[in-house]
Symmetry: C2
């Protein structure tokens, strides 16, 4: 019959969902097993530890979230169009709602810290490169990249803190363009 055996990936995605909602401490074996319809016996076959689950889940997210999106826009030749499309994707989409806020909140966690750091650095570096292609000198390019990235981060935070105050922006194409232009910043 369909006894519905689980793969390692099932645990990873479930862990990311729990992490997004309740933070690191919500990545617990018992609730996840209950949610997946199995017992802890399943978990301790796939993973050695609770920490191993958290680490593997974050590493998987690191690959999917960072590399996939960057690959999606890296082919765009014009740097201004590239930034525009990048921010549009980043603002409107949100694969695992609330994950990034949860990660930032647990920035001190020994498992979270290195991965969050790598992802942030990689994103800022990509932005810096794009702004450099736009003609900014190196120092100003990195400065603008930090400003733009922090604006992006704040946006996804705000979307979670007050979800119903923002559709008035995302829903209106003109307002969305206004936001994207503001994210890109003064590059003239």
């Amino acid at each position: 019959m369909d006894v519905a055996r689980l793969s390692k990936q099932d645990w990873l995605t479930a862990a990311l969902g729990a992490l997004a909602q309740g933070g690191v401490s919500a990545v617990a074996v018992v609730p996840l097993a209950q949610q997946l319809g199995v017992t802890r016996g399943s978990f301790y076959w796939h993973f050695t530890d609770r920490t191993a689950l958290l680490r593997d889940a974050l590493q998987w997210w690191e690959q999917q979230g960072t590399i996939a999106v960057i690959d999606q826009v890296a082919s765009i030749a014009d740097p201004r169009d590239k930034l525009r499309e990048l921010f549009r994707i980043a603002i409107t989409e949100d694969p695992v709602s609330g994950l990034e806020p949860a990660l930032v909140a647990h920035a001190d966690d020994p498992v979270v810290a290195p991965i969050l750091r790598r992802v942030t650095e990689r994103r800022v570096a990509f932005l810096t490169e794009a702004y450099a292609e736009l003609g900014l000198p190196a120092t100003r390019a990195r400065r603008q990249a930090l400003v733009a990235y922090s604006a992006y981060v704040g946006w996804i935070q705000l979307r979670r803190a007050t979800p119903d105050a923002l559709p008035e922006i995302v829903g209106d194409p003109e307002a969305l363009a206004y936001l994207v232009d503001n994210l890109i910043g003064p590059t003239g």
Copy 2:
């Protein structure tokens, strides 16, 4: 002798610190009591519940964090100077490091949700008013307020995610002015 009896406020500040570091689940009675050098008997005299501690702590923070800062800049007449000073304070100071990211991460929590919502709305309303004083029409003022506030939120998040990438901005007065101007946005 100096048996160092605790006040209710001691528990509140300790709770905010724990909340900032480990999230809602870190606001636990046993660890806090241990950190304060007492047993749980003290806690259950001052508070009825673990939830009551969390609620009271957040309400205290709501008053201190929101009202105090707004009062500090509300007297400045020129709206542009007012915004400048507001963002300067918001960017450079951080009374309880990491609290706001932790709150956003637990935006679904029944205790956190209403308070976070009130604080966000109040801040955005204050910004909207300032931009209106600057001459923006109502719709654009609120839109710009949301953009500016999300940029601010992202800044304090980024400061926590990668603390050593940002002093290069805060330390340099010129770069700080650049950031503040970018937060204020195009208001010409």
